[in-house]
């Protein structure tokens, strides 16, 4: 399986997910069950493609931005499925698969994946845990930003958002824990590969900034009487910083010499 087969998988996966989205709007229990099955089927399709690609490339599929987007789509749908089974949030599921589809479609039009090689610095047992933990974290924090938007919407409508906030906080805590682990794995790896655990490389700076802003949110939420709208706005900004760290970095003047810009 190679990138040439990608369009078929995108069409199949997005087809299943789109159908699931339509069925999710229904109110009957059976349609909801069918739509969940469709989401699972779409997720499996993607998993099969990633596995095939890994085998054909003869190296882990984590190197290029395009490849991280594949994982992100997969993990986003997986995590929202888990949250669905635990708390029955079907709107989160809908939002997550829309996001996952957006990332697949970006990959379809701008694959950024032509390179088969893996530079020596990336050949390390740390490579897979570092990237996968970050992708899990990003998927959780995307879910948190979804609830943040719902929360903002509800609070401007002056409706009760206590249960939404409870869930949002839990998801932020989980995402933040993964973010911390991903960053520390990065530091431990950097020590082995480059001799320093922290060099203020632009990607590191932005990763720290992302971490600090979520840290800010967590501390701000300790006192539940604090302004909730402000908390939710912090959450919205956090996700924007996260996306800048992930994609936007290549366009920033400060990042021209970053060791994390690979393609």
């Amino acid at each position: 399986m190679t990138w040439e087969d990608f369009p078929y998988f995108v069409i199949l996966c997005c087809g299943l997910w789109l159908l699931a989205l339509v069925l999710l709007t229904g109110r009957k229990k059976t349609t909801e069950k069918i739509s969940i099955l469709l989401v699972v089927a779409g997720t499996l399709t993607l998993a099969v493609f990633i596995t095939g690609l890994w085998i054909s490339l003869e190296r882990p599929v984590f190197r290029t931005l395009g490849e991280t987007r594949l994982w992100y789509s997969l993990l986003l749908s997986l995590i929202s499925l888990i949250i669905y089974f635990r708390w029955k949030y079907k709107w989160l599921l809908a939002y997550s698969i829309i996001m996952a589809m957006v990332f697949l479609i970006i990959n379809y039009f701008k694959p950024e994946n032509f390179d088969k090689t893996l530079m020596p610095a990336l050949q390390s047992p740390w490579f897979i845990p570092h990237v996968i933990v970050y992708m899990i974290s990003y998927a959780f924090l995307a879910a948190a930003s979804f609830f943040g938007i719902i929360g903002l919407f509800l609070s401007y409508k002056r409706k009760s958002i206590e249960s939404t906030m409870h869930l949002t906080d839990n998801i932020v805590y989980t995402g933040f824990a993964f973010l911390t682990i991903g960053m520390l794995f990065g530091a431990l790896w950097a020590k082995v590969a480059w001799g320093s655990y922290w060099t203020w490389d632009p990607k590191e700076t932005w990763a720290l900034l992302t971490w600090l802003i979520y840290l800010l949110y967590i501390h701000f939420r300790i006192n539940k009487n604090n302004n909730i709208k402000l908390a939710l706005w912090i959450l919205a900004i956090s996700f924007f910083v996260l996306l800048t760290c992930w994609f936007g970095l290549n366009y920033l003047p400060a990042a021209q010499n970053s060791v994390h810009v690979y393609s």
């Binding site: 701008k110 911390t180 082995v192 001799g195 600090l212």
Partner: protein, 416 residues
């Protein structure tokens, strides 16, 4: 303080919250900017051993003494959430600036930026003051939470103390860490290692390169535009050069009929070489649905053999890319007094020797696999075990946080 106020209404420090916290943090940044400006933008420098240890001891003592001497409202405020948030905010703001402003002084940097320390934020006074303040309030918070000690606080402690240790040991230890590089050649015992300012150091041992090998990826073929010299379709997969394979490149069906990994050029074409050469391949390209063919040798070129492209038409040509390194390894012999020791170095697999960690860092990239030299990096960081203690505490804290989630911090809501 106004003593006539009713007990319900808090006054003075007891009523301080976010605005006062932000005010203190911003004042510190402002003072930092003034000092930085007044000292000509030279920045700060960390003192080395043993002065940094003394600073650490004094800093801890100061935090502890301050905690036990100062009055309750001030202590409560300084170790509370609003101050923590203001301190994180200011620190995050400095990191934010770092994320936008290139952090190296170049000829283009404006004098004002340099003078205010904005292109060397980590070494600037505003950074020093606001990170010290962050550590100070974090320290107070930690003391408050360990008294009395309870296992419910373990997640809090691992996270906060872990972070405190990482920042303190990382910053104070920076002056004691050394990063040197050595250029090793075959048959020569090298003594001198150099730092980034080209200062030479004698480390008391000598290193010699015994052998240097590179595993390389196969070269690839690229379809390039004759006008721009750039790839016709940058997103297209570039076929690897393997004998007997056929692939489509744009409108062309390309067959690789011969491939010599190490070739020299001869009047008749390319032949396998015993000495340093370059990879070369014979390819035949047919334009899809048209009767146009082109064939000939392509060669990626090297310092020993010239590059050779194959013109397909007036607009397009095929070129072979340089081989990329997959793995490079140095076999090294180290001499220390009368003993010697041999070891292998490769990227991601450093070797510890006489208190130094030795890393494979580079080679002569022009010469590629024929490189006669290997560049190694020697790193010494005596504070590393302390930093790692912090890192592993924070890791454990993060794992606990996954387990407990938001509920793990419920106690915090009551105490603040």
């Amino acid at each position: 303080m106004n003593e006539q106020q009713t007990p319900e209404k808090k006054s003075g420090v007891s009523s301080w919250k976010y605005s006062e916290g932000l005010f203190v943090s911003l004042i510190l940044v402002f003072i930092g900017l003034i000092i930085e400006f007044a000292t000509g933008g030279k920045g700060t420098s960390m003192p080395a051993w043993p002065a940094n240890l003394l600073i650490l001891v004094l800093f801890i003592a100061y935090i502890v003494v301050f905690y036990f001497l100062v009055n309750l409202p001030l202590k409560k405020w300084l170790s509370g959430v609003p101050v923590a948030i203001s301190a994180i905010c200011t620190f995050a703001f400095l990191v934010f600036l770092m994320g936008f402003i290139p952090q190296e002084a170049t000829n283009h940097s404006s004098p004002l930026m340099t003078r205010l320390g904005l292109n060397h934020i980590v070494r600037s006074w505003p950074y020093l003051l606001s990170s010290t303040y962050l550590l100070f309030v974090l320290g107070l918070t930690i003391i408050r939470r360990i008294r009395p000690f309870s296992f419910k606080n373990i997640s809090f402690l691992l996270n906060h103390l872990g972070l405190w240790i990482i920042i303190v040991a990382g910053s104070l230890g920076s002056a004691d860490s050394m990063k040197l590089s050595m250029v090793l050649s075959r048959n020569i015992e090298t003594i001198a290692a150099y730092n980034s300012q080209s200062q030479a150091f004698d480390l008391g041992f000598r290193l010699q390169l015994i052998n240097f090998t590179i595993d390389e990826y196969p070269p690839e073929l690229g379809l390039l535009s004759a006008k721009t010299g750039k790839s016709v379709n940058p997103d297209a997969t570039r076929p690897e050069v393997k004998k007997g394979t056929t692939t489509m490149m744009g409108d062309w069906c390309v067959e690789i009929t011969n491939f010599i990994e190490n070739a020299k050029k001869d009047s008749a074409g390319y032949l396998p070489a015993a000495n340093p050469g370059a990879p070369a391949a014979y390819i035949t390209a047919k334009k899809h649905l048209q009767n146009i063919t082109a064939s000939g040798w392509v060669c990626s070129g090297s310092p020993f053999v010239n590059r050779q492209d194959l013109m397909l038409s007036d607009n397009e040509f095929i070129a072979m890319t340089l081989r990329k390194p997959k793995k490079f390894t140095s076999e090294i012999r180290a001499f220390y007094d009368d003993t010697q020791e041999s070891f292998q170095l490769t990227v991601n697999k450093p070797y510890k020797f006489k208190g130094w960690t030795i890393y494979q860092s580079g080679y002569d990239e022009q010469m590629g696999k024929w490189s006669e030299i290997s560049i190694v990096q020697l790193v010494r960081d005596p504070w590393l075990p302390v930093v790692y203690t912090g890192i592993f505490m924070l890791l454990a804290g993060a794992l606990l946080m996954l387990w407990t989630g938001r509920s793990g911090t419920k106690k915090q809501q009551i105490t603040i």
